[in-house]
Symmetry: D2
Subunit: 378 residues, 4 copies
């Protein structure tokens, strides 16, 4: 089951950490800590092996992979010894990266992206390709009439002007090329009726949105805890401090808004009501990839007694995200092989804002995920 | 289904909070926040109604209930207005409390305890009685050969000397009187082969041990979170600062040891290995009932990257425990009515150190609990 | 030394807590915890006694003092027993409160405010009156040419339109009436060249701005600690979560901006450079007066090693502010009696953003304060 | 002013970090962050220059300096590039290290230690030598009659058996050899009447005890903050989690007791009363040198309102200690040259448990230190 993973944003922190990690796993230089697909119930599923994976991708910058890898090592995100040991392998992947193409109309751009995907598949004789978006988070996008149906969309794309944000154009191109699509970012991606229509016609699955790696992961277990004990959460406020490329982009209010909405949704879902409070994201260059999130939760219990809980999370975002990116690629490829088409709500375990209306509590999402894996045809 | 709840330690903080709460619920002065049996899936189960419950109990001190209630109000554990409104009701319950009896041998003591239980049941025409231990935590108890079988135990109890710790003697008496038993403390209670034998013969169920209300509750959702993400917890250390009667008792190293062991167990169960670190309990009179627990968790992720999480929990122990005491009484009475005998592992949701070998992750315990409730005969 | 204290915002939380506290101190119902002027080196200074103080004030709302006091008791800010014991006394102070007057021009308004002040002084035969601003924080104010000189200001005030924000108009009226002025808020107050000129001519002192009671107080000792150890603070970020009237007002971005600027200033002063990071204020109604602030400080030490510190502060804002309000009134009255005119930089100990360019480290501010007190004529 | 620094425990983490740092400063590879003697008011004092310092020392283990340096680099305590750049320099210092000598009586042992010190001074033509104890913390030591006077001590040392703990024997030898002595550990060191007598006779100064680098440093500014605001600290509890050699040793209850006592002293001194609570130290190997301390402070303010503060400190102990070790050596050498003899209470700024009865608030200690530096003869 030779499987291609095509990374959008392939020169970014998450992508390069995933590339180093996949190479290190293949070379048996590390164990699979952080990879959910290596846990007992999923390990048995018929997923592509580490050695079956081939990587390529698009980016809008040209920083060499090796340079980026060295920066990640200096920041403590990946061990320096791995970068040294895997330099050749990274050099080979470098050959598979392409600048994000651009045409006169969005239809033309999409066509060129799809060509790159088909070339990649053919060049390596791949059974299928998963397109995985780990590019910079986009600002929230204005609605457009052409988003509503595939015919309208096709017509609009052929004209001058911008109809789709980059993440959705990539999803469009992926589906056209017969590839599945995973959106690890809060961007729009495949979340438009026209694209759902296209995925269904093309017979490909997709998953998203926004990888759940830090504060929201913790929320997805704490909020159900309060709910199961019938404790009333009266407020939940948070502050995320982070640097790095993702942080710098989130300093932009528009991108920030997209992310923040995605971060509070789990509370309403898990509790059945939306408690007071917001979750903020502040860019602090100095803090780099090792982000700190602090949350204060006030709640009331029996007879109205008020109580509180605080937590601080000091996580390395890219180290948390990268193994999930690999997990998602393996699972989506398997779903594709199995003939699944359209949204994959069973992968909600991985996302802050999952497609479909599956459960938001982590434990319930885990049950959905293991059920999905158990159902895959061998 | 008139149900008696006989509290061992009936003049303590947890007990009196539970008494005030039950009276307030019956009088519809409060909602049922904190009561798990009022959540949708359990609310439908055939449990005794709030108005079916009758309270009595033993204690070794004589502090009037109303005095204790006023102290709890002054400390912010219960609202003062409830104490005022329910003073008469508390006065009536006062009449149902008895000093813990004592005889020349433990057999004699147990006989008198059982007599008090039978009197209570007869006096109020109760269908059944749940004996619920919320007394001071005992020191860890030395093994004794008579713990191994009911015959040996019966023989030994008839002689001078101490064979059973108070909590186990109470369980013995409860079973002899045909009552079910719940141990909300880390004391030995019913956890002896001889008592398991007796419960089976007497046809009564029992549950325990050690109510899960604070730091351990949080552990029971965070530890599975790390496990489900295949993150390796490298250390987990905690400090619990608390005052109150329970805190004062835990300042005694022997009682402390019992509690601390009970608090780390969940980690090994949920993670599959025991991470470094201990959970300490320190008595700080000033802090009173609003205990503060702080935990530091270090963990490693993909490619060995080290990360950490901290949390502080500021909970009011009695306000967290009291509704669970009521839940446990309702559930155990229903099990008894349904003919269940022996340990009730399905109630592990409520305990730090559950009887039987059920799951330790809160979500899985919830599934077991709702399954149990759904299976109760109407 | 009969001394009047005229509170602007007299029906607010800080004001009413101060009124209850002053009455309780006079009645010897409480000790002077929280009052800096009762510490040994200041206690010896020739300040007005508690029994010398007479209270009055302006507000724009009409909520009765006793109602407000009961609200504060219900929220745990002041003990209920004090409100009960001091109800009569609060009733007497109620008679001394006036609605904030208003005229056709700002000159006329100021005239009426000054009249209220003179009436108060005469009615009670007071030696002097301190006007103390504890009203709602105002938005940052646009510059106006008339702010630059007293002549220009007088001319402009006589015409229609708004020249001064309310806090500055009050300062103007106070000076005209021969009263000293203290600004406990971040509003503009006396911080305009024209008002400095007026205070000098009127021969009255003034102090401000913005009482230092929580996060900034902690900063004023932690920032010097890093500086004295030659540790480089690389970022300092904070989030303040609070409800109450002050919090609701700070939910307004303009008022928020005034406060936030005032909160970071201490860092640049104490460290000699401005570290990255901001201090945010978020309104969370549920949290009420017991505000929570969380700060994350990253710093680097010997050979560049990176480290971090976090703190959470759970303070009751009004309980922290009220004793300082009383301290400031006593100290400013003594300065006035001693013939001091103009700004009092020696009171920088009390403020986030002190007038003049005194030290910003708390210990150095304390030295300045005790020096000032020691220099007061007996 | 060629100055020798003789480190007891020269192969430990603090010592080797100091050695690397001093070499890096001399080679101008780093700036002096963390060095207090490089702050403006001290920088002007007549202290030995970085290039005047020569290092040697004793240890009981033989692990090569370079190996230890590499371990520190791998743990992130020092930058790897410095270890590479300074390998030759570390090789030269390696030649100056000696195994801790041992004789048949303690007098003989002391004689050999003194010989090593004199050899070192002569070999390098040093003006004077500071002996600096950074060895493993010793258990608290039993009193002995010979500790009371120099004559009794001399007599006792000549006999078989142990009269002095290792740290005190080293102080004895240092004084005999005409060297000054600094104790950076909580061990007994020079704190015995007999040794005070000897230092006075030998005309040498000494300083100590127990470097103040983390939790206690923070206490030394926060406790005065509460005191200056007349806030009553009702409890102060802490937990220190650390690994490393120092942590492993502190897992021993006897050594732990010495350290813990030293950590709470500052509170009583700064507040004027000892609040409830203890400060614990737990060994967690996994945490290594980057220790985490958490403190909970409860306090009451105006009218008895209860509040609380928490902090977490994540510091690298050796990186915090090493520059202070260098500062102390420079300052003590200058005091020695200036003819100071006996204890140096003006260096209390650096210690948890300073000799003499100087102030315990950091700001006041800073004033004492700068006064001392200003008084040094040029
Ligand atoms: N790390 C986490 O824990 C985590 C969790 C959830 C979501 N995410 C999301 O993953 C994404 C990547 O994060 P990162 O830390 O790697 O960010 P990054 O800034 O390091 O990398 C983003 C990369 O995307 C490239 N890019 C930008 N626009 C592009 C486009 N239109 N087409 C192709 N490439 C483009 C950039 O040049 C850059 O190389 C972000 O959107 C982030 O919000 C990350
Ligand atoms: N509050 C919680 O969150 C929580 C959680 C888990 C377990 N627990 C356990 O619940 C128990 C009660 O806690 P609390 O805060 O009410 O303590 P408490 O000290 O207020 O009350 C204990 C009561 O038990 C009585 N008692 C002591 N020995 C007795 C005996 N042999 N027979 C009968 N009564 C006896 C005491 O006189 C006292 O009235 C403790 O064992 C505690 O560890 C509490
Ligand atoms: N509590 C603290 O720790 C603290 C610290 C520093 C500064 N402050 C400042 O103290 C002030 C008072 O805080 P609070 O918590 O009492 O707020 P609050 O909202 O409870 O009270 C403010 C009062 O001012 C009145 N007011 C509004 N505009 C007025 C005007 N123009 N003239 C007269 N009265 C007016 C309001 O009606 C209200 O009664 C705020 O500006 C706050 O920022 C408080
Ligand atoms: N790092 C800090 O922030 C800090 C602060 C205050 C005090 N201290 C104290 O500094 C000391 C050193 O700490 P560390 O982290 O370097 O510990 P470490 O364990 O890394 O080093 C101690 C060294 O002392 C050596 N040693 C033991 N007994 C000896 C003896 N009798 N004579 C000579 N050498 C001996 C050991 O072999 C070891 O090499 C400890 O006592 C610690 O408590 C450290
Ligand atoms: Na905290
Ligand atoms: Na924290």
């Amino acid at each position: 089951m030779r499987t291609g993973i095509w990374l959008i944003g392939a020169r970014g922190s998450v992508a390069v950490t995933a590339l180093i990690g996949a190479a290190a796993l293949r070379a048996r230089l590390v164990d699979a800590t952080g990879c959910v697909t290596e846990l007992p119930p999923l390990r048995a599923a018929p997923l592509p092996a580490w050695s079956d994976l081939v990587f390529g991708g698009h980016d809008v910058v040209t920083l060499p992979l090796l340079k980026k890898a060295e920066t990640l090592a200096a920041a403590g995100v990946v061990p320096g010894r791995l970068v040294t040991a895997l330099a050749d392998e990274l050099g080979r992947t470098e050959q598979e990266l392409r600048p994000l193409p651009s045409g006169d109309t969005q239809a033309e751009t999409a066509g060129r992206i799809a060509d790159d995907l088909r070339d990649f598949r053919d060049r390596h004789g791949l059974d299928r390709v998963v397109v995985l978006n780990v590019a910079t988070t986009e600002p929230v996008v204005a609605e457009h009439p052409a988003h509503g149906s595939l015919d309208a969309l096709r017509a609009a794309l052929g004209e001058a002007g911008t109809v789709l944000p980059p993440s959705s154009l990539v999803a469009y191109a992926a589906f056209e090329a017969g590839c599945s699509f995973v959106d690890f970012t809060p961007s729009t991606g495949a979340r438009l009726p026209a694209l759902a229509e296209l995925a269904a016609r093309a017979g490909v699955p997709y998953a998203g949105n926004d990888g759940k790696t830090g504060e929201t992961l913790v929320k997805s277990v704490l909020a159900p805890m309060f709910a199961l004990r019938n404790l009333r959460v009266t407020s939940w406020s948070g502050l995320n401090l982070l640097g790095g490329g993702d942080g710098a982009n989130l300093a932009d209010p528009a991108a920030n808004a997209a992310k923040v909405a995605s971060k509070q949704r789990v509370l309403g879902d898990a509790l059945g009501y939306q408690p007071e409070g917001t979750s903020r994201i502040d860019y602090v260059a100095e803090i780099g990839d090792f982000k700190t999130a602090w949350d204060l939760i006030t709640f009331s219990g029996f007879l109205g007694t008020g109580m509180r809980m605080e937590f601080s999370w000091h996580g390395c975002d890219s180290a948390l995200a990268a193994p999930l990116v690999l997990d998602l690629a393996r699972l989506t490829a398997a779903a594709h092989r199995d003939g699944r088409r359209g949204a994959l709500p069973e992968l909600g375990f991985f996302f802050k804002d999952p497609l479909g209306d599956g459960p938001s509590a982590l434990a319930a999402q885990w049950d959905a995920l293991t059920g999905f894996a158990a159902g895959l045809t061998r």
